[in-house]
Each structure stands twice: as structure tokens, then as C-alpha cells.
Amino acid sequence: MSSADNSAVEIKLRVNGQERSLSVSALTTLQRALHRDLGLREVRYGCGEGVCGACLVLLDGKPTASCIKLAVQAGGCNVVTATALETALPEAARERYSCLRSNFETCAAFQCGYCACGFLVSAAHFLGENQGPVQEEKLRTALSGNLCRCTAYRQIMEACCAAAEGKQAGDLSSRRPDIVEKMGADAGYPTDRHSKEALVGRILWSEQPSAKIQAIDTAAARAVPGVVAVLTSQDIPGDNVGGTMTFAEDQPLLAAGQVRSVADAIALVAATNEEAALEALEKIAVTYSPLPQLSGPATARVAGAPSLGRHGNLVSQFTEKAGDVDAAFAGADLVVEGNYRCNSNDHTCMELEGGSGWMENDTVVIELQSQSPYGAVSAVARQLAIQESRVRIVSNRMGGSFGKYLVAGLEGFLALLVYKTRQPVRLVLSREESFARRVKRHATFAQYKLGVKQDGSFTALDAQILADAGPYVSLTPAVISLLTTEAPGGYEIENVRVDCQGILTNNLPGAPMRGFGSQQANFGIECLVDKAARELKMDPAELRRKNYKREMAAGSQTEIPNPWLTKTMEAVTAGLGQRPVASDGWLYGRGVGSAHAKYGYPSGLTDRFVARLRVDSSGQFIVESDIADGGSGSTRGVCQLVARVLNLNHLPAYSFSQDCIADPTGALISTGRASSSFKMGLFRFIERIQTTFSGRLHALTSRFSPNALARTMQWTGFATNWFNASLGWLKSTLFPYSVDTFNPRISGSRGIFMLGRAAQQAAERLRELALAQAAKSLGADVGSLELGNGGIFNRTNPASRITWTELAQQQGSKLEAVGESHLPKGMLFQARTGNQVGPVDFVYASHGCDIAIDPATGQVKILHYVASHDVGRVLDAEAVRGQLLGGIVMGISQALHEVLAVQNGQAGIKALHDYLIPTCLDVPQNIDLHILESGTGLGPGGAKGIGEIAAVVAPIAIANAVYDALGVQPTAIPITPEQIICELMNRRGASATV
């Protein structure tokens, strides 16, 4: 086989048993040929380096990374993708494979599921060659080419081990429809759409972290054959505003005149093919003249530093003051101090950021990842100067989010390209762009001081925290506000002074990530508590228990430390047991940590969620809402909740509904008819006032000095909250199923908490409706009826029964009910300080671990890890386990491995090969979970949102264990083996000179 010239190569290959012919360029990868040209959506793309395994196929029977294989290399070969694996297996292994698929479901092995098809390929190949009890190490090695960002690989391993022995690993009645979809071609991730007709979109990013743009010349780029459009800020029909506009409109969609970070987009290209698009990017000539660069918050806040924002570099500042801090320090027996730093992290969602856009008549449709679809709609409408009703954002499912898509994504770029070219456009970033050009978790720099009495009680805390916001305001005020509120951790401290500032720099833009500031806040205080314990010669666990926030003991007038927090720490201490004995020259250490962290996005007021439950004419239950599958598995827990209320023997399906997004007044989802334009206008008007008086005020505060801020809040705070509460009441009375479009949807572990309650209400309403209907139908009293066995039956005469299918048909397929939930009444601001309040519910957790440091390499080996969490109530045991284990592994990895190496405004890491999210050979194998159910959560049945908390605590347990092992406190995460060896070398050097 050969190609004569530069033209396409004709290849023949056998794909899933069928002979296929393809015409490809010599440089087309096999992944692209299978995914784009043959439409095999199960062959996903995650890195282009052969590292992540999302694109695995069997090529002549061997697991092969199709992203680093050319399609022409596969000519004449036999390709099997994840959807046809049973055909590639020997007869004897097929039953094991079928077991594997159902085990993956019942174990809830996957969360976002983007990696699922890759795992199927590796695991099926393993099962083809292995039967009976599995050697775990061998299985781990076989799966080590598949990266999963969500889980700890444990449920995946369990499913494989059971399958190898032909065993079912879980309860078959709790099958998970979402996992079935994720193991196949119809999962519907935004980057799945890949038609040949779509133009290829590309972004020209700034080469400079800080510069004036003197000129942009696009003439040569536009002349490249195949290029359809080259767009700059001049081409934006509406406002050149981009980014997240909740608090400020300081970020342009496309840079005009100035660039403030290498994450600034300067121009967009659309071309008929990838090569032309890349060539065009290279031919856009941008003339820069460099400006001084602000490399960190410390330099950006000094007087005289160049100003990035309109009002200097202070994004916002929050303070918390209680008692007389100076007097308390003066009276303390011991004052401990420390400087602690959390470096930034990348979210590393396995699905790359991006999607597609197209025109449908006059409507711009954009399909991509978003946790804030309403915000995306209104931003695009402003950018294009069109009505919001002409913009549709589709975001049903995403391959991981972790907070990344709370801030604005690529919707503005895609929309502009689609609108200008009137053609479908696909724009998906590369892994390198994802690392080098997109948002990162806020890096924080904290100075802490703690006053302690001889008996160990904490009396005073002073915390000065700086957060690196990057070049724009974005969601930083909200993160800062929570950092401030959580700075004292889970401790009762009478005298507190916290000052927290978000500072603009020329680094990569800051964004929330799993914890929304909690991880950074906790790291500081928990390090400091361990330092105090060491100086007091007290057990760190005991010192914590002594100082936990106090509350009234049930049925008495005495105050006791938070009993659930105490129980988590007791479970950890008991779980760890005896310390391991050091014997081999390794350095052993034990560390513990706690968190008392908020969850459920604390935007107080009326934050509302709506769910619709319906039964179709075949008796299938469908839960619908505007909450996408962000990857946490919470939509599944919601379905289980509904099944419980209605005593169903199978799980309802979950379906993302565009009805809410299309009509945020809630009329469409509740009545089937959209609101009139008058009602819609009224709704928008109320929301406009709401956002003006809440969000904007937040940003305004950055203009004032701290004192003026406090004064402003004192004067306006009460009024604002009162005013906003009234507006919320008005809005929810006029529009009972409306949502707050200025709030994100999936955020802050509140999926179960908010959507769960809405779905529960819908289920309870449907139950009443169905019972009434059944009573009429069966001629029985409602009181004698019971739900179960696929319908409703008479308790005294079970033969008298009506099925759900019959009920639905009787209702003319209109058996449905709508439920809503909203946050309990709260306030957006604390009048005195300006801090966000209304984090209405808290989760409690403690972690502990024993580690050993290898003196040969400086690597930290986790010998035993114990985590105890109060989850309120377990709704879906496998989902809770998966979230907690996955969070722990992410937290450990951020504490030890995920070095982003930001320097001069640029990330030093550009490939998944170098950003060390763990493989299944790297995760600790002995993580014990102790799950407590206090029943005190505000979610359904007392449940709490637990998506973030494990990742919040894990870094602390690790850092404190390293402290214990070395005798020197690590003051920053990640803690690298190199730092540990340097510390040991310095020590050896110092002792040698003594």
C-alpha cells in the first residue's frame, strides 16, 4: 500500500467485523478516522500522547492507543472498539466479559465515565487472557494505561476481579443507565459530535503574559486556502465582554489593545481542515510591546505596582473580626506562626474542553461543557447582540468538571465563529492548550498566627491570606469570601482577625476547584494546629477534639465540641491503631486533619431547582431537570430516591431537559407552554435588579479600603439583603418553578441536596396523583392502596391492581408532576464584614494516614489511610464510596504529585505525560472509609452533599504526616520528593558540620 503524492491514501480495514474502506491523509490518526470518519463515538480522545487510554481499541487483538497510531498503519488490520469486544474474545471469556459490563454498572465503577470505553478494552483483553482469582498487581499493570480523574480505581478493580471469576459484584436491581450509556457510543459528551462538514475552529492565544497589542494583521491568514474566517475583537457584533460576568465585566471575549495573560484569546480561525486552521494561526501577525509583568500577588499589591484592573489590583477584600485579638495574643501562653502556600492545580478533566456549534434557523446552538448554562446564554446573546431566545446552550453531560466549567468556557468563541460563518464549527482544545491557556485553582499565600493556652485551648487567630486571581475578577470574590469564612477551620476561637484579598496578576486565571476555597483555607489552619500540637507536646488528634466548634449538647445546657466532628476523629484514631514500627531506614510519620466545610453553593436567598417526573405510556419513569450529568453520579442518586418514594423495582431514567434552559420562568417545564414575552420580560426585569444589587455590589467593594467596605456594607448590607429577599419572594410567587439564572447549576456538591429535594417533591406529588387515579379506577379507598409490584394494588386484595403503564395510559400519557426546592432562607452578605453567609449546611470529616518516606528517592509511600465522614444519610452507597475515595485520591495527588510549575505567568507543564494524576499503580491500596450518618443534613432524608469534602481534607493528612516523619513542617503543597531529599541533605550537611 502506498500513496503516490500528498493526496489521500485509500485504506481498507476490518472494524468490528465489517470491512471498511476509507480515504485518509497519511497523517490522520486512527482515533480521528474511527471517531470522525466512521462515527465510532466510543473511541474518545483525551491526550494525543498515548497516556490516558480513552482512545484504546484492539488492533489485531492488542490494546492500542489509536491517538498515536496513524490510520494508514491500521490498513489491512483488524480493529475492535469497546462496543464489539465480545466478538474479539474467545468463547470461554465471553461470559466473564458480560459479567464485567454488569459489574461496572452495579459497582458504580465510573463517575463522569469518559474513560469507560478505554477501560473496557484493557479489561476485556485482560479477561481474555486471565481466568479465576486475579493477581491484583497483574491487573493493576494491565489497567495502568487508563487514567481516571474521578475515581480511586477501586470499584473498577473490584468489578474486574469479580468478573475474572465469573461473579456478579453488585446488586443487579440497582443497574445504572448512565453507566450503560458511558460504556457505549451514545454517551453524548459534547466533544463526541464530530462531523466532516463542520469547520475546524482554532484560537490564537497571547504569546505574552502582559503586553500592549500594537497591531494585528490577519491578511496572510485569511489568504490561506481553506480558511473561512479569521476573527478579532473588531468582528464582535455586540459587546466585547467575555469570561464570567457574575461580579465584573472586566474580561474581553477577544483581546483588544492589551493582553493580561497567556490565557487571553486574540483571534479565532475557522477553516475547512485542521492543517489550514493551524497554518492560519501561524500567519496571524501580532505586534506586541511588552508591559511590566505581575508575577504574583505579593508583587501586585505593593504600592506603585502597575494596575491591571480599573481600580488597582485588589479584586476584593474580606475581613472577619471577633473579640480583641491583640489582647488575646498578649495573654496567650503560646503563639505559633506559619506561612502556608497552596500552589495552583489543573482540573484535568479527561474530556478535553470544547464542543460544536451550529445555526438552527435563526438560533445559535452551542453544545459544550457548562456548569452555568444560563450565564452562557446571556453572555452569548450580549456578544452577538441578539435575543437570548436565539441562543441555545446544550450541555447534557461532561467528561469531568470539578468546578472548571463554573466559569465561562468556549461558548463565546464558538458562537462568534458560527454566527459569522453561518456554518457548523467544531472547536476542541488540545491537552496542551488545556494546561497552558485555561483556568487553574487559585494559588494562595497565607500568614497564620494562633494563640494557645497551656491547656491547649485556642484563644486567638490572625490570618492574612492572599489569593492569586489571575488577570480578571471572575468568581474570585466568591472564593475569597469563603476562604475568609473558613479560615478558622472547624475550631472555636473567640478572638479572630482574618483578612483575605484576591489580587490580580498576569498569571493564569483562577477558578474554583473541588472545594471552592475550602482546601486552601483548611490547609493553613490545619498545618498551624499541628505545629501548635508539636510545641505543646500534645497529640494532634486530641488537640483538635478539644477545640472543635462547640454546640449545645442535646437535652442539656452544656456546650460540647461538635459531636460529629469528634466522632470522625475518633474513628480515624481507632482505625489507624498502633503506629507502624520503623525498621528499614525509611522515615515513618502519622498525620491527621479535620474539616468543617460548607457545601451547597452559599448564595442564600431563593436559589431554586426544579425537577419533573413523568411516566411514559410504556410505564418508564423519567426524571427531568436542567442539571447536567457533571460526572459526580448525583443524578443517579436522585433516581434512587424517586424509586424509593414510589417503591419501584427499577431505577427511573434521568434526562436532561432543555425546557428549563429555554424558559427559566419554569412555565415550559411545569405547564408545557412557554411564558409570554410579557412575563418573560418581567422575569428578566426582576433578575436584573437582583443581580445589580447582589453581584455587582460585591465587585464594587473592591474600590474601597477595608474600612470603607465595612462601612458600605453596614449601610447598604441590610437593605440589600432585605431588598433581595423581597425580590426573591416576588419572583417565586409569580414564577413558582423558576430558577435563578445568575447562579450556576451544578456546583458545590449540591446536586443531591437541591435536585434530590425537588425530585422527591415531584415523586410525592406523583404518588398522590397516581393513588387518586388508582382509587377511582379500582373503586377502592386511597387508604387501602399500596405502591409496589410495578403499580398500585389493594392491600386487602392484591389481585386488584393497576400497573403504572395502565395508569399512564389512562392519563393520556400525562402522568407527571413537578417539584421544586430552594435553599433555606439566608443572606447573601453579612452586613458587618461583607462576607458571604448562608453556607447553610456543613460536612464534617477527619482523615489520618501512616506514611513512610523512602530516603533513596524522597517518595512518600502511604501505608494506611483512614477517612471518616459524616455524610448525613447514604442515598446511594456506591456513589458515596466513589465520591469519597475519588476525592481522597485527588487530594493526595494534589498534595504530592500535581506540580504545575507556574513561572512568568506560564504553566511549566504542557502534557498529561508530565502532569502526574495517578494511575491505578499509584493509588494507595488500603484506604479505609468510616461513613457516619448523622441524619442532620438539609438534603433529602438528612443527606449532605459530599462531592468535594474528601479532596479538601486529604492534603492536610498527608502534609501533617510528612511533618511528623521529617520533624520539619512542609509549608506548601505539592510536596515533591525533590524537596524532601533537599531537606534530608541539608540536615545531613548541618549535622556533619556540628
Partner: protein, 268 residues
């Protein structure tokens, strides 16, 4: 870019001499082709040359074809039994899918990978097919001169030696090599008769550690001697890479690797 699948070695050699690019497993070449499509004009995909996909043990040496995959290499019984360092190095590369595709020849053409240090200490010779004829040269020479023709075979002399390959990376699979140490050792009458050590990861290509080899030869294996050797090796190695982690840490790992390798090879 043109694409061609030669069916004979001659065809491949002629094509490469005319400026073509040799494509074997593609694990290293394909990602770079995707990002810089203009690095060549014709791809010569070698997959049809199945004669290069065999491991042939002979009396004095084992011939390893250039297209033998890393997976096949570390699963080969003769390689694991007699050339442990090579099997370990093959297993240290990437992850299962990369080892399934990656080849011995491809790794030799990229001196920064894990196989070259192991081949150095095993005294391997490399056979290269060139238009003017076959060239057999020590692997050291090939690494220094670069590949001009087509690598067809690696020849491993069979000796009663022990060998070891140790890789330091911060991730167990798909980990970038920070330091690697390869070592081979022959003990006669309780004395170290022959020893070779090489270090990878610290410079564009691996290098032998001559001073350590010299100080060890003729000595009786002992912990104190190994400690000293590790120290000398860490000082001797030339660290030229400027990527993090830093030089001091890399030297520390070299020391740890030498010590570990020597200990492993002298315990049962």
C-alpha cells in the same frame, strides 16, 4: 506527506536514504508528526518486514529484530533469564498500550528512552542496513553517531552475568524518566570480574560510568564498596538536562540507583 509500506529491507533502505522517515510503532513519531507535519516527506511504514519481528537465540548471542515490541521483549523467556536489565527496561516504558506498539529499533533511534542504558551495559551491538551494505557497531557508537540507515537487529552477547535496570519516575506508569541506572555484573571466584554501569535521564543520551566500573573491577562485593561506588557514580555522571527536578536531586537518585542495582545483583 506520502506513505509507503516497503516489503523488503532493501526497499526500505533505499527509501530512507532518499530522505524518508522510518515508521515502526509510531509511539514517538506520530505525536511529533501531528504537531509538526513538515518534518519529512515520505513515511516508510516497516510493518510488512516481519523478519525483523523475531528473537533468535544462538550459541554465542541472541538476535533481537528491530521490530520486536517492548511487550514481546519483556515477555521473552530468554531475555528475562539472561538479560534482565533489558526486560526491566522494556517494562519500564510508558504503559501497556505504548509497550504493545513501541519497538526496540524505535527506542534506539531515540536515545532518551529507557532501552539504551540497558543495551549499553549488555554490550549490545546494533546492525544497521545502509545502501552501501550492513554496518555492525557497538550501541555506544550508534547512540553517539545517530542512525543513518535502517536499524535491523540488536545482538546481545550471551554471558553468565547478572543485570538490572532501575528507573526513577514520579508516576508508576506513563512516568517521565528522571534518572535511570542500568548495570551488568559478572562475578568470578568471589570477585567482580566485569561490571558495566550506565545512567540515563540526565542528558540527551545515556552514558557509561567509567570511574565506577574501574573502581569496582577486581574487588570483592561488599556494602561499603557499593556505597563508595554509588558516591563516585553520583559525582561522575554528567547532568546536562535543565528541566526540573534539579541537578542535586538527580545526582542523589543516581547514587540510590547504583547502590540498589549493585545490591540486587549480588544478593540471591
Amino acid at each position: 506527506m506520502k506513505y509507503f509500506r516497503p516489503t523488503t529491507i532493501n526497499e526500505a533502505v533505499t527509501g530512507l536514504a532518499a530522505g524518508g522517515l522510518a515508521l515502526a510503532g509510531g509511539t514517538l513519531l506520530v505525536p511529533s508528526l501531528v504537531s509538526q507535519p513538515d518534518i519529512g516527506s515520505t513515511l516508510f511504514d516497516l510493518q510488512q518486514l516481519s523478519v525483523l519481528r523475531v528473537i533468535t537465540p544462538e550459541a554465542q548471542l541472541v538476535r533481537v529484530g528491530a521490530l520486536v515490541s517492548l511487550d514481546a521483549l519483556h515477555s521473552s523467556s530468554v531475555i528475562t533469564a539472561e538479560f534482565a536489565a533489558l526486560a526491566e527496561a522494556a517494562l519500564a516504558v510508558g504503559n501497556p498500550q505504548v509497550r504493545n506498539a513501541g519497538t526496540v529499533g524505535g527506542n534506539l533511534a531515540s536515545p532518551g528512552t529507557d532501552l539504551p542504558p540497558a543495551l549499553l551495559v549488555l554490550d549490545a551491538e546494533v546492525v544497521e542496513a545502509r545502501p552501501e551494505g550492513e554496518l555492525v557497531q557497538p550501541v555506544e557508537q550508534l547512540l553517539a553517531n545517530g542512525v543513518e540507515g535502517l536499524i535491523t537487529e540488536v545482538r546481545l552477547p550471551r554471558r553468565s552475568q547478572r543485570s538490572r535496570f532501575i528507573k526513577f519516575a514520579w508516576r508508576a506508569a506513563s512516568g517521565r524518566t528522571i534518572v535511570s541506572v542500568a548495570a551488568a555484573l559478572t562475578i568470578e571466584a568471589g570477585m567482580i570480574a566485569d561490571v558495566k554501569l550506565a545512567c540515563g535521564g540526565v542528558a540527551p543520551r545515556p552514558a557509561r560510568l567509567a570511574a565506577v566500573e574501574q573502581m569496582l573491577t577486581g574487588q570483592a562485593p561488599a556494602e561499603a564498596l557499593f556505597q563508595e561506588a554509588a558516591h563516585v557514580g553520583a559525582a561522575e555522571v554528567v547532568v546536562s538536562t535543565t528541566q526540573p527536578p534539579g541537578e542535586q536531586y538527580r545526582r542523589h537518585l543516581v547514587r540510590s540507583g547504583i547502590l540498589q542495582a549493585l545490591k540486587d545483583m549480588t544478593t540471591a
